[in-house]
Point group: C2
């Protein structure tokens, strides 16, 4: 792979620490992902997306900026990518998935906030995020207490925009959110100096819908009795979806889907038909974090459904394609994003119903609720989820963990015990 050390130096990164973090990431990726047997050949592209995130992708964005384009960092799938893309702005999710940067966050921030946020902050504070120095703006939202208050802190230091995601889902909340989407558009127009063009917006809507459809198709292959792709590989694709060029990603995903269709036709699965089928539900696993999926699948299970922001939440629900002007299309965009069933909403019954439905549709043997440590909303909602699953005859296991490897042994014991208990489970 190309050497990007010069670029990183020019960006003012701590090159040695950055190399150490990348080396750790590469090592984990090799041990957990590349070492899997029976991988689809077309995964090669997505492997490169992950391994090239801090190199090739950054270089590409620098080129884009040289041509006059802008680049924003995001932290949540509520940021409407259609608007971003239509204004020739590149969005990249800057969420951190490495434990190595966390100590740098903990020098300033509380220890007892979620590892994803600490990892993200740590990458920035330790000058090991190659995206940070080139971003024209960062976009946060009010989906959780810890992120919301972090934006207050960061807003004083960098160009920042915060979108208010309301806490309920009534008409007046939707109205507030629609206005947030319009304000976001205006902020981006200010950043780029360009007015949002109706044609370009329609094109971006179509492109994002295609990307979502392709991801939904990928996810649906996992319903098969012999899933043609592992949960880890699905996760790798999702992690790529949050950082890669949208059109190129989509085209490559179509290729992967074609390969998987062929596998399905031939009855070629990645795991035996005795592998326990698990839904992973809850918090996202962003780039660098393959911990839970690795533990589950190396214990003999197969993850066949991801109900998370690095899963269904990202691609469920299409944006309605609206004719005749920017305003109507913006409303349709706002309405689509408001359907995301994040645990930040009160109440959030749709999500609970949806998890039970997914578990049934995907013929799951059990559900693993994945809670990033100190994430209050998913952690408390887990009580209702477990209860609904139990009522539906579906066993579940809650795993609350951070990015460290210290609890891996203990988690493996719990996972093995859970998988064993599923033997006795009679499917509903």
């Amino acid at each position: 792979m190309k050497n990007y050390e010069g670029m990183w130096k020019e960006l003012g990164l701590d090159v040695e620490l950055h190399k150490a973090i990348l080396a750790d990431l590469d090592k984990k990726f090799e041990a957990y992902v590349l070492s899997q047997k029976n991988r689809p050949g077309k995964m090669g592209y997505f492997d490169d997306v992950i391994l090239g995130a801090h190199g090739a992708r950054v270089a590409e964005i620098i080129d884009h900026k040289k041509r006059g384009g802008k680049f924003i960092g995001t932290f949540c799938i509520y940021v409407p990518e259609e608007i971003v893309l239509a204004l020739d702005v590149i969005p990249v999710a800057l969420c951190g998935g490495t434990a190595l940067s966390i100590p740098y966050a903990e020098r300033t921030f509380p220890r007892n906030i979620c590892p994803l946020l600490k990892s993200t902050l740590g990458l920035s504070f330790s000058k090991t995020c190659a995206f940070a120095p080139i971003k024209d703006m960062a976009v946060g939202e009010t989906t959780c207490d810890a992120k919301k208050k972090t934006w207050d802190f960061l807003s004083k230091k960098v160009n920042f925009h915060v979108m208010e995601v309301p806490q309920k889902k009534r008409d007046k909340d939707l109205e507030l959110w629609r206005d947030e989407v319009v304000q976001f558009k205006e902020r981006l127009e200010g950043l780029t100096g360009n007015k949002l063009d109706g044609e370009k917006l329609s094109e971006a809507v179509r492109l994002m819908n295609r990307k979502r459809s392709a991801l939904a198709r990928l996810h649906a292959f996992r319903k098969e009795a012999l899933p043609p792709i592992s949960g880890l590989d699905f996760l790798v694709v999702m992690q790529g979806a949050l950082i890669d060029d949208t059109r190129r990603f989509w085209a490559n995903l179509e290729d992967l889907n074609a390969e998987l269709e062929d596998r399905v036709r031939k009855g070629h699965g990645v795991a035996g038909d005795r592998a326990k089928r698990l839904v992973v539900s809850g918090c996202p696993s962003v780039l660098g974090n393959w911990k839970l999926h690795h533990l589950l699948e190396s214990s003999g299970a197969i993850v066949i459904c991801d109900e998370s922001c690095t899963g269904t939440r990202y691609f469920e629900h299409m944006v309605e394609e609206v004719q005749g002007g920017v305003d109507g299309q913006l409303l349709a965009i706002a309405d689509r994003y408001m359907k995301i069933d994040c645990s930040c909403f009160s109440p959030n019954e749709e999500r609970i119903t949806n998890i039970v439905k997914l578990a049934r549709d995907y013929k799951a043997d059990g559900v693993v609720q994945y809670i990033l440590q100190y994430c209050h909303t998913y952690n408390i909602e887990a009580i209702a989820v477990a209860s609904a699953l139990k009522k539906g005859g579906l066993p579940s296991l809650k795993i609350e963990t951070d990015y460290s490897e210290e609890d891996a042994g203990q988690l493996r014991l719990r996972i093995e015990a859970f998988l064993e208990s599923l033997e006795k489970h009679v499917k509903p």
Copy 2:
């Protein structure tokens, strides 16, 4: 004191456990509060409010209900008491301040949520909250992740109303909040079967403003070089404010204020003039929780300002008295509550500016930031608060703790070291 065992039994409480919790509360109250020297004589009334919370107050509410009145439980000072009182409904804050009930919450809820919420839930789950069985409704709000998601859980079990507190403070947020206040009124009208009366609302507004003015006056006495009341006693009054009958509380507070005025005239302080003057800023200390104030004052300091929901946040800002109808008065009520500078808002600069101002106005030697464990919003906002204080030449100490006594020794060491460091501090 009267024996209420029969009443508790009738309410279906776990009488033995309830007695154990009350005995622990009484013991702490005696050791921390009653044992103080130089207490104002008029504190007797407020002592009785605390010690009678689960007995006399409950009996009084039962009588009120027998006469056709309603009773609601609250968990936050955003619930507009004016509307509640005007509809002849009694509001009582059901926030728990005891560690003894926490294990009962942890059987269902995550351990790593704040002790106040766990204590509250634990009292209810263990059948040791005498208010729970008699409440006609509970009113929650969306001020933090853990509470918000807890309301989802409780709403399925009891009559519950959730008010959406927005996350920002722009015009459209105020609009949303104003509508929440109107909806709350409608919900209470439904509960009582009565229409909100303009006269009664005006009367309730005047009464609440009087209560706030009296509390503000009480708080202002602490500006004196020789404060006539301890921080612990101030806290006892505030804890009473959240549960006692409004009119009676106000009348007795006027008496206390008269006594304190007399003390000030005579130069009669509760601590020597060498006691370090501290602001306590951050999370509330509700009934049963005297831990921090006791530690600070028994280490030789005096708390001269409370910037919290059991402090200034409760009584700052009056409701504008509006003539001519319920609608306009409701708007004015909504606007007053929206001025509360809870850390749930993003951004929340007013609070940070206010803390520095309070510390100066009250001639503080230092500020103690009090963070209930796992409270993300105050914990992260503490970074900006500490930084603003430092810039203003004001030393600060952050204490993050729960309700247990296990860390008391360690905290005392840190507090003593902090107080010692203040010796060297030159006042600005």
